[in-house]
Symmetry: C2
Amino acid sequence: MPFNPQDPRVKKTRQGMRDAFARLILQKGYDAISIQDIAEAAQTARITFYRHYRDKEELLTDCLNTLYEELRAKAKPITLEGVLSGDSPVRLLYEHIEEQEMLYRILFSSRGTQTVIERLRHHLAAQAMESIRASGREIPHDIPLDIIAYHVASGQIGLAMWWLDQNKPYTADYMARISLWLTLTGLIETMGETGIRLPRPLPDERA
Amino acid sequence: MPFNPQDPRVKKTRQGMRDAFARLILQKGYDAISIQDIAEAAQTARITFYRHYRDKEELLTDCLNTLYEELRAKAKPITLEGVLSGDSPVRLLYEHIEEQEMLYRILFSSRGTQTVIERLRHHLAAQAMESIRASGREIPHDIPLDIIAYHVASGQIGLAMWWLDQNKPYTADYMARISLWLTLTGLIETMGETGIRLPRPLPDERA
DNA sequence: TCACTCTGTTACACTATGTATCTTATGGCA
DNA sequence: TGCCATAAGATACATAGTGTAACAGAGTGA
């Protein structure tokens, strides 16, 4: 189906589908939605759906890819000074969540989104690695860099999910700073340093 | 349907369904599975499925609830000494993942599981709070305890997901220690302490 | 205006779902 | 051992959703 994405009719149809779909997901959940429902809510014919998307999944991907591309477009070059002064990737994430709250609620809650969350996690992990490189410091105990990066990214995404789930009890700015602070300092002030058995270096531990 | 769960016929039927379902999910994915498929794979009649479960979702919940209950049953009282010597909730998690790898793969990859992952996150968050309380220390900067707990739990789950996704490149023991270490000390050794703007206390930041 | 493209209408075959009815098999117990 | 309660199997059916086809009508842009 070689549709022309520039055609105003096509634009209108697809935008209508995306909007209707987002509304329906929040209203009754991904699984309970039929193609019929989407077509009706978008005030279009059922067959028109099939002309543009193979299935629900593809429409959802269309919705969330746009979201992800938007976040990526916001990314700036990473410097240690920028990160420490609060101009961090996690701050951009919280700003973007504020702008696109409805879509992030779908991303974090629905089911057809595992791949997009995975992409977001990869993205944040890559940025974490870049931040660590920008710091120019040695990694302690030879902990593999990708492990660190995924731990950081997972904590950041998890905290953002918690924030939306709790209906944003704190400001995005506060959350971004907390997230960065926990990532950087962990619980060391709380738990204390004494007695922590550091992991041994890597080679002994290969499975 | 007041079935007797003790009846050996019932036990056999349900166990067969659970096993068949787990195999099918890993084989072709949750969405692509029909009730027919499950019944066939379990070598039973389609109608028998409906006698025991309302839909796919309920069968999946049955599978994963068992998993979650098993993990919960392993939990021990938390002490600071136990946590620091490596006898931590996250170690139990990794041990359990090794024991039930197939089901955890389903839990972490499939779609019908958001609620169970959420429950796992709550569980780990609750244990993190308990660990912090057991330490008897003050929480720095009045950071809300639940924020810390969810950050910790998310990092731990995310790292475990990464580990399975990468086909377990390191031992469970090593992963558990890394996870604990990152949680406790963060990246402070890597990024350094200077220049980090700590979050201001809470009251100014309420949304 | 005209050619082209997109959308709407109607229709159809196919598959999965959920339920009902009746028959057969199984396990516990006197 | 034979009986009884209960679970599983076989068959059938109504319903809903899916995916596709053919044709008519509306919109876009030159």
